[in-house]
Structure formats: C-alpha cells, structure tokens
Subunit: 128 residues, 2 copies
C-alpha cells in the first residue's frame, strides 16, 4: 500500500523535469540549469528541493559532502496524475474533450497525426 504523493507545484515540476532529464543531481547542477530559464537564487532552489525531499517527491543521498537528489516519482506516473487532474477539473473527466482541445489549437504535423492514428489503432486492437 504505497501512500499517495502530493501533487508537485509548478516550481517543483520544473525541478523534477530537470532531474528526470539529468538523472540524480546536486542542488548546484539543478540550480545552474534552472538559472538558464529564470532568475533564481541558489538557496531558493535548495529550499524547494529540501521540501520536495520532505514530501517524498525526491530522495537524497547525504553520504558525501554534497547531497545528491534523485526523483522518487516517475515521469510517467506524474504526467498521468497531472493529466487526470486536469481532465477531471476542467473537462468533467472527458478524455476526448481534453484531447481535442490539445490538438485543436496546436497545429500538429502530418507526422504527429499519423502517430496518433497508429496509437488509436493499437488502442482498439488491444481492447477487442
């Protein structure tokens, strides 16, 4: 019975994305990356990462001088959680409406559309 982790905030999600991309990271490397996107102080990043560790979103190895943080939530699960939330909160639980909204505005390439079709094929085939 694993307890449900809290939904990451916007700021936390930014950090998660960096760690998913880089793998286990120090505050320093996360902050360096983050700094290329926005103004942010080192201690601010540190604090957020410490809080994330408390919440269970990150785990940390404190054996060395510099602590190393790694994600304890998978990218996939987290994305799922966020999509589910939005689907519920804004679309009354309708996946289709969400999908159409997502596709409708953003012009997709023919290639992407093809991939989605293939994906739909697979979905149908699978559930027979």
């Amino acid at each position: 019975m694993k307890k449900k982790l809290p939904k990451p905030t916007e700021g936390e999600l930014e950090i998660l994305r960096i760690i998913w991309e880089q793998g286990p990271s120090t505050v320093r490397t996360v902050n360096d990356r983050l700094s290329t996107m926005k103004e942010v102080g080192y201690t601010t990043t540190l604090k957020i990462m410490q809080i994330m560790a408390e919440k269970g979103l990150l785990k940390r190895d404190t054996s060395g001088k510099t602590h190393i943080y790694h994600s304890s939530v998978s990218k996939q699960k987290t994305q799922q959680q966020l999509v589910d939330r939005l689907m519920e909160a804004a679309f009354g639980g309708s996946a289709m409406q969400l999908v159409m909204q997502a596709l409708g505005n953003k012009p997709s390439t023919a290639e992407e559309i093809k991939e989605i079709r293939a994906f739909l094929d697979q979905l149908e085939g699978g559930k027979k």
Copy 2:
C-alpha cells in the same frame, strides 16, 4: 490589447464550471450547486466569487438587491489556457505526448475513438 487574465485556481475553476453550465448566477445558486459536491459555507463561496470579480474572471451586475455574476472568460479559452500550461509545464510543449497520456490510461469507448479519428481527418483536411 486585452490584458491576460490570471489562471483560475482549483476552487475558482469549480465555480466557473457551474456558471458555464447554468449561465449567469447568484451566489446562492452557485453555492447550492457546489454544496452538492462538497461542504462549503455560503460566505466562502461569496468571497471567492467576489475575488474572481476583482480578478476579472467574473463580472457582476449589482443593480438589483442580489448580485448576478456571469463569466467573463469563455469555457473554451480557459480550457485552452489550462491545456497549454500543462503541455508546457509537464510535456515540454508536446501536444502528442499529452494526448497519448490522456488516452492511454483512460479506456475510451470505440465511439470516442471514432470521433477522434474524424477529428484528425478534419485537421488534416483543413491544413491542406
């Protein structure tokens, strides 16, 4: 040049959904509806709606005794905004990834899948 309205909070979104559904509403009717979903005091609903009016998410007619609130943001635009945000924040801007995540977990009916296909056809047709 219309100024950008703030992103509604979760609580605000619930109220927006009710107003989108019911049309222009009083605090009373919104609160009645809201109360069927969760415990909430009348003044709480009132306060949130007042704040929403301040922010520009709602407009109100104060001519009568009872104020009437109506949405100043369209359902469509708001959904778009939220989807865009999530797409950016969690999927690096990829509509496709978001779509697959949305479809992948939630089992869709054959009917829905059909509709999505039709939608894709239309998308392709439209962009030549």
